[in-house]
Each structure stands twice: as structure tokens, then as C-alpha cells.
């Protein structure tokens, strides 16, 4: 199918298989490999991108569903949002950065507990989440 969308502000058009996921389009076709694939069924959060401003799982979205949409990936977000030092292996980082960007975009200040609840949609197997939570709390300050 023909597909036309904007990725990190740059228009893209091409021919894609209907079954191609948005994650695979980003990683395999566009080599935007900052978006990671963990579980590939919506549980781990590593593949989170912004789809028309809302955080979405790119592994659960078919590329053709993003027709006409504006997609933002971790590559286009400020690298200081959550510093690398908040992570260990870093596999989950892209998902956390995008999720944090979505949460911060509404300008609402969340308590530590609220933030922990919202960020529960992203799994980190190294850190125990404390440094990640601290970094997002600092962004709110």
C-alpha cells in the first residue's frame, strides 16, 4: 500500500506491506534504530513513539495506520531528557524518553507516586527505576 507520513518533521512516502508494523518501518526501512523492540506485544514499552503527539506502541501499530500522521521518535527528542547515567544497559531508554516527553507535554506536575504509576508502562530490568524517576521528576522542577 502507498503510505505518506511525517517522521521527525521530515515527510516520507513509500510502498509498504499492509502487515508491516510502524516499529519495523522505522527500524528496518528508515534505519531509525533508536526505537527498540522488546516484547513486540505492547507490554515492555521499549518501542514507544509519539503518534500525532500521543505516546503509542509502534509494535502494535501497523505502518499504514499512521497514514498522514506525524511520528516523533527518540532521535528527535532532547537527549538530556533522561540522562544516560539514569540507565544501565540502556535498552529501555528510548521508550522511557518518549513516554516522559508525552507526560511532560501536558505541563501538569505529577507526584512521585503518580509518575511511578504512569511510567509503569515501561519495563527496565536493570535499575529498579529510581534514577529514571528522579530524572523525570527533575524535568518537572
Amino acid at each position: 500500500m502507498r503510505l505518506e507520513l511525517t517522521i521527525n518533521g521530515i515527510p516520507w512516502r513509500g510502498e509498504v506491506e499492509p502487515r508491516l508494523t510502524l516499529a519495523d518501518l522505522l527500524r528496518d526501512r528508515l534505519r531509525l534504530t533508536g526505537t527498540h523492540l522488546g516484547c513486540e506485544h505492547g507490554v515492555c514499552g521499549a518501542c514507544t513513539v509519539l503518534l500525532d503527539g500521543e505516546a503509542a506502541r509502534s509494535c502494535l501499530t501497523l505502518a499504514v495506520q499512521a497514514e498522514g500522521a506525524a511520528v516523533i521518535t527518540v532521535e528527535a527528542l532532547p537527549s538530556g531528557l533522561i540522562p544516560e547515567s539514569a540507565f544501565q544497559c540502556g535498552f529501555c531508554r528510548a521508550g522511557f524518553v518518549v513516554s516522559a516527553a508525552a507526560l511532560l507535554s501536558d505541563g501538569r506536575r505529577r507526584s512521585r507516586q503518580e509518575l511511578a504509576g504512569e511510567l509503569a508502562g515501561n519495563i527496565c530490568r536493570c535499575t529498579g527505576y529510581e534514577p529514571i524517576l528522579e530524572a523525570v521528576l527533575r524535568c518537572q522542577a
Partner: protein, 228 residues
Amino acid sequence: MIPLLAMRLAQPAMIVDLGRLPELRGIRREGSELAIGAMTTQSQLQRLSLPGIVAAALPHVGHFQIRSRGTVGGSLAHMDPAAEWPALAVLLDAELELAAASGRRLLRAADFALGPMTSAIEPNELLVSIRLSGADGPFGFLEVERRPGDFALVGAACHRGRLVAFATGATAQRLPRCEALLREGGSPGELQALAETEIEATGDVHASAGYRRRVGAALVQRAVEAAA
């Protein structure tokens, strides 16, 4: 649906994207009735003023990254035994509006839910809306989940004397014997004991049937307390 495709549990020859049909999105109020379009996303709903029990259930529907794309109709058609919308539909005695080329029909939630991952939607039909009436008022809606937003290990809800346990067995289960005991003024202890026998639970890798019955019964009792 994408996980079902990825795991090869579903292998459809054709998929139709309903995402671009604006008439399936949004809510309509008629008196005390609330009609929610099937393609309304959970996050769109969260931005609206809704009956308390619906507003309380929504944060449990996946994580916010899921609610941004997940729809009410998608959840109902998918009919996961642990999902919130099928449980709300049964609890609130909702009506499901189904459309086919030959016409429309309304089905009560109890007749819509056939089993795990199975609804009464015919192959030539489309779920158009869910209609709730009298959904306001005090309620209890409780889940035990590993992370906020995960599928519930066990859930229970209470509204206007009706009781439902979900994430326990094949589908969300009304508990008529417990409801009768409530009407007769049974004690919290009696209610919990009865709920433990009435809940039809199945065990899996996440929780045993016994765990689901015991914790489910405790949640039923707490949901009744919250709704008082």
C-alpha cells in the same frame, strides 16, 4: 489484535481499518443514556466528564501508551476475560449496538459475551456503539494487578446492588447469589464467604484458581463497601 497476529493466533485474509470513520468516534448523551462510539479511544474518554465508575475503570485499561490507541469497541470485541470494558458492560447491563448491511440490532451485554475472546458479533456485523444508562451513582471498582495498567490478576466491581467478578474465569461473571445476600442484609463476612464459592475461577501461570477465588471474594466485599 496485533499480538494475536504476531503470535499467529489469528491469520485473517483481510483487515479493515475502522480508524478513519469519524461517525464511530465520540459520545452522545440522550437523557440518562450515554452512547459511546466503538472507535472512541480510551484516552479520548478520559478527557470527558463521565459516570464515576467509568472514570474509575479507565486508568486500569492498559498503560497510557495503550489507551492512546486502544478503543472501547476494540476491547469489547476482543473480549479478554481480564479486560475492564466487558466487565463494565455486564455490570451496568449495557446494550451493544451491532450493524450489518441488512440492519441494526441491540444486544444486552450478558448475551454479547459468549466466552473468552468470543463475542456474539457475526462475521457480517460491526460493533457500532455501547449504550449505558443509569451508570451514575456510588460504585466500587477494584483490581489486583502486577503493575498499574497490566491485565488484572483478579477484579471485582459493584454498582446499584449488582456485582461482577472479572479476570477470574471465562468471562466477567455476575454474582446473583451474592446480590441476593446483599439485598437480605448479609454481613460482610457472609458475603465474602459466599463470593468465594460463587466465583467460578480458573488458574493459569499468573494465578491459581484458589487465589482468584479468595482474592476475588475479598475484592467483592471491598467493592460493596466502596459503593455503600
